[in-house]
């Protein structure tokens, strides 16, 4: 019955699904003269797992701490379920956080750690026991209820921390770099487990991470942040396939960027001339912008094809010499040097490699891609 109760609550909650469960409205945070957050706006839907992605110092942790109530915003508002949280202290917020270091109280057992939040609320004793057991079952840690935190492995500590932050049934769950304290080996599996548990409980989640793979794996939507500003918001695939800026393109995955000038712009295609290429760049969708505008074109390495023969198409190719080959198992990473000294990265699939047709080090090759592979970036 334990897990079912949690689930019933979750489904009841998801029935009244509406937009904008959590709203971050024009939030500015200054530390003295330094601006940590610069007019940030976010709308997070109910039961969504939303990731804040960025390198260290981009303001993502500050935003998380503002949501938790440990920092106050200099300007702007935060609404959760329609309630303005500006004046609500952290100990009265319907928000719980799983800390990067887990912050399990070392002098309490697992059970007491998980019960801590409920005891502060003055929940009756028998209900506490019931809900703690329910939460520990959810993360499969009931067997360890009487252990102290130092008697647990990293993965187990993480699950206890998760149980502790879920047991109060928060409206918003905050995850601060949830995987960073774990070994790389167990990270991926833990990501899936965490997603399963969060899905089962049905809780709105904001996660902070600097690991783009983690964000891509776990998040329903993500916001790429840089220098206190949100650069792009969208679903992971959308942000990966259609980055809106050089920063997004380079931060999420790796990419090849060609700078150029728009020479022809029609509703269904655009031609761009670049100094790096002997032919024009051709992209099968239009852009909005004047002719002669400076743009960059992003082409992902997995979209790039290497061939010994000159490509048939009159666009989107360039000649070069293979400089490095890194075998990655399922694919090989090629670095091809162009005539002007620039490097282009290409992924060659394992199948091509095994057929023995892949070019080798020092060979002259043609690098090409099709008309739907390039993305035009205007800033």
């Amino acid at each position: 019955m334990n897990v079912q109760t949690l689930e019933r609550n979750a489904s009841a909650a998801s029935r009244q699904q509406g937009k904008g469960f959590v709203e971050v409205i024009d939030v500015v945070k200054k530390f003295g003269d330094a601006v940590a957050l610069n007019h940030v706006n976010l709308t997070i839907e109910k039961n969504e797992l939303f990731a804040l992605l960025g390198s260290s110092g981009c303001g993502k942790s500050t935003l998380l701490r503002i949501l938790a109530g440990f920092e106050t915003a200099t300007e702007g508002k935060i609404l959760i379920d329609g309630e303005d949280l500006a004046r609500v202290p952290p100990y009265h917020r319907p928000v719980n956080m799983m800390f990067q270091s887990y912050a399990l109280f070392p002098h309490m057992t697992v059970e007491r750690n998980v019960a801590f939040g409920l005891r502060q609320e003055g929940v009756p004793r028998n209900e506490i026991t019931e809900r703690v057991n329910e939460a520990l079952d959810l993360v499969q840690m009931r067997k360890f209820a009487q252990r102290k935190p130092h008697q647990l492995s990293g993965g187990q500590q993480q699950r206890v921390a998760l149980a502790r932050s879920l047991v109060k049934r928060p409206k918003l769950l905050l995850l601060d770099e949830p995987m960073s304290a774990l070994d790389k080996k167990i990270r991926q599996q833990t990501q899936f487990e965490l997603m399963n548990i969060l899905g089962k409980v049905g809780v709105t989640c904001v996660m902070v991470t600097h690991d783009q793979e983690e964000a891509m794996t776990m998040a329903d939507r993500l916001a790429v942040m840089s220098e206190g500003e949100v650069v792009q918001i969208g679903e992971p695939t959308a942000v990966y396939e259609f980055p809106n800026s050089r920063f997004s393109a380079e931060f999420i995955g790796s990419t090849n960027l060609f700078d150029g000038v728009v020479v022809e712009d029609e509703p269904d295609h655009v031609y761009i001339e670049s100094a790096s290429l002997p032919v024009r760049l051709y992209i099968s969708h239009g852009i909005t912008g004047p002719l002669g505008m400076d743009v960059s074109v992003s082409v992902r390495p997995e979209r790039v094809v290497l061939s010994r023969a000159k490509p048939q198409q009159p666009y989107n190719w360039v000649q070069g010499v293979v400089k490095d080959v890194a075998y990655m198992g399922s694919y090989a990473l090629y670095r091809v040097e162009l005539g002007n000294g620039r490097m282009v990265t290409a992924n060659v699939a394992g199948m091509v490699l095994s057929q023995g047709e892949a070019p080798s080090y020092g060979e002259e090759v043609f690098v090409s891609w099709n008309e739907s592979s390039g993305v035009v970036l205007t800033k």
Partner: protein
Amino acid sequence: MIKPSKPLSVSVLGLGYLFLYLPIILLVIYSFNESKLVTVWSGFSTKWYAALLDDDELITAAWLSLKIALMTAFAAVAIGTWAGFVLARFGRFRMLTLFTAMINAPLVIPEVIQGISLLLLFVAMEQMLGWPQGRGIFTIWIGHVMLCVSYVAIVVQSRVKELNMAYEEAAMDLGATPLKVFFVITLPLIAQALISGWLLSFTLSLDDLVLTAFLSGPGSSTLPLVVFSRVRLGLNPEMNALATIFILLVSIGVVAANQYMRASERRRAREMRMAFQNEPTVVETGDSPAMARSARGAGEPSLLTRKGAQS
């Protein structure tokens, strides 16, 4: 790299220890001397220990010292913890530097000056307010607390500074008010600093002579005062016996505390090692035999979770 010569380092080490412990060893030996003269050995005897038991003045003084030391230790820990916590946590408030300096000052101000100034204060207060009447336990206690607060504050401050804020934030996040966080989370986590601060205050108070000399009055002679006044009249083997007993008690205390701490540290390390040895089996094996096993171990839950996952 220069290799230290072994005989040389051993002899230097030996000399160092001899310098430190020879006087104490001599003192212990001479406490069993039969002669009344401290420097002449005339045979083995335990009569000075027996004499100690009959010495009412010494025993009263010892009790008084113990009482003052206990009171001082508790008061100094209460006030010092407060000060240390504020210094470590309240960021850079105005006059922080001044506050820090003033908390630390008693460490460097000569005790004689502290003693004189406190004495002047108490005398002036007595003339103006009629309180405190004369000098005694109370005034000694005030002086000792004043001295010890600095030590406690420094110990607590450094411990609180290295304490991960996340524990307190987590407690607050889970609904505990700041005051509750302090008592339920912060205090237990800095308990070791409180204990060392307590012990430090206790010993400082127990053997303080200078400050006490200024602040004591008739009928409130602490042990160090009595010992000092007697030694001025001539060395007495009884003092050697007293010192030997003290050394014995302190050694037992220190060794026991060390043993206890080392044992608990070793146990903790072992438990942590065990927890992490289990990690690969728990986490690596997919979705996951180890976890299924642990769930089955707990009885019902494995069934429950599976049902939960399907519905």
